[in-house]
């Protein structure tokens, strides 16, 4: 297994165990986490933002989101984690049959994560919105 895959596997094992402090320790000081789209939780956060916004958002779930890693694809210092997730968000059931996390590694640590997901599911399960005919 490549070094990148090993780092990413360890990072996700820690993250999925719910040990956010240990997971954050595996990130560079200037690491960023981006969620695609224009939802209320979309955008790019630094580590402070992850702690002040992302962790409380996850804590607001009625049933915590359970993420399962399906595959890790790696090339040099970049990796793509394919995963799935389900739980119950503050405003509805949350299911992501297909997730893709794109990571960049620097000095053995995670420097960047971009989370690709179904943003409509985020709107309905986390943000309390719905999509209707215009």
């Amino acid at each position: 297994m490549s070094e990148t895959k090993t780092i990413v596997r360890r990072f996700f094992d820690t993250l999925c165990s719910g040990d956010f402090a240990a997971a954050f320790a595996g990130m560079t000081d200037d690491a960023t986490w981006s969620v695609i789209g224009t939802t209320a939780v979309s955008g790019t956060l630094d580590k402070a933002g992850m702690l002040s916004k992302q962790v409380p958002m996850l804590a607001s779930f009625k049933e915590p989101p359970v993420v399962g890693v399906d595959e890790i694809i790696a090339d040099g210092n970049r990796a793509v984690v394919l995963a799935h997730c389900s739980g119950v968000g503050p405003t509805g059931p949350y299911e992501q049959k297909r997730y893709a996390f794109v990571l960049r590694i620097r000095d053995g640590l995670v420097a960047e994560v971009v989370e690709y997901l179904d943003t409509v599911a985020v709107e309905t399960a986390i943000c309390g919105n719905k999509v209707v005919a215009a």
């Binding site: 981006s34 695609i36 789209g37 224009t38 939802t39 595959e71 694809i73 790696a74 090339d75 970049r78 990796a79 793509v80 394919l82 405003t91 509805g92 049959k97 297909r98 893709a100 794109v102 971009v114 690709y116 997901l117 179904d118 943003t119 409509v120 599911a121 709107e123 309905t124 309390g128 919105n129 719905k130 999509v131 209707v132 005919a133 215009a134």
Partner: protein, 135 residues
Amino acid sequence: MADTREVAEKFIDRIEGLNFLEAFGMLAADGHYTVIGKTKASRTYNGRQDLFDNLIPLLSTFVEPPRLAFDRPVVDGDRAVLLAKGAGRGPTGPYDQPYYAFVTRVRGDEFVEIIEFMDTTMLETAIFGKKLVDA
């Protein structure tokens, strides 16, 4: 026979050149193409013909076709992940996708699997005439 990176780069060249039919024609006759989410376009298209018969017509309504620019693909064995950003104008609104990902599996000169990740809310508003409201 082309290697994974060459196949990925051929797909990128075609998409960046707005040759969408040639790009999607790289899906194997028995390949699978999945659009994530629960939009009208979201499902797994089984085979190239299903893709051409049912997804391409849905996407042919763009007022301005999305112009995509790709990063260097992430290649690992027969896997290639193509990351892109792009914008255009759909039939019912602006179409802005700063984060696109095509997760692919290559066999020979073709793709046997493509999973397309994008902002599904943007699909709903720009292509399918939907809007977002409080639940």
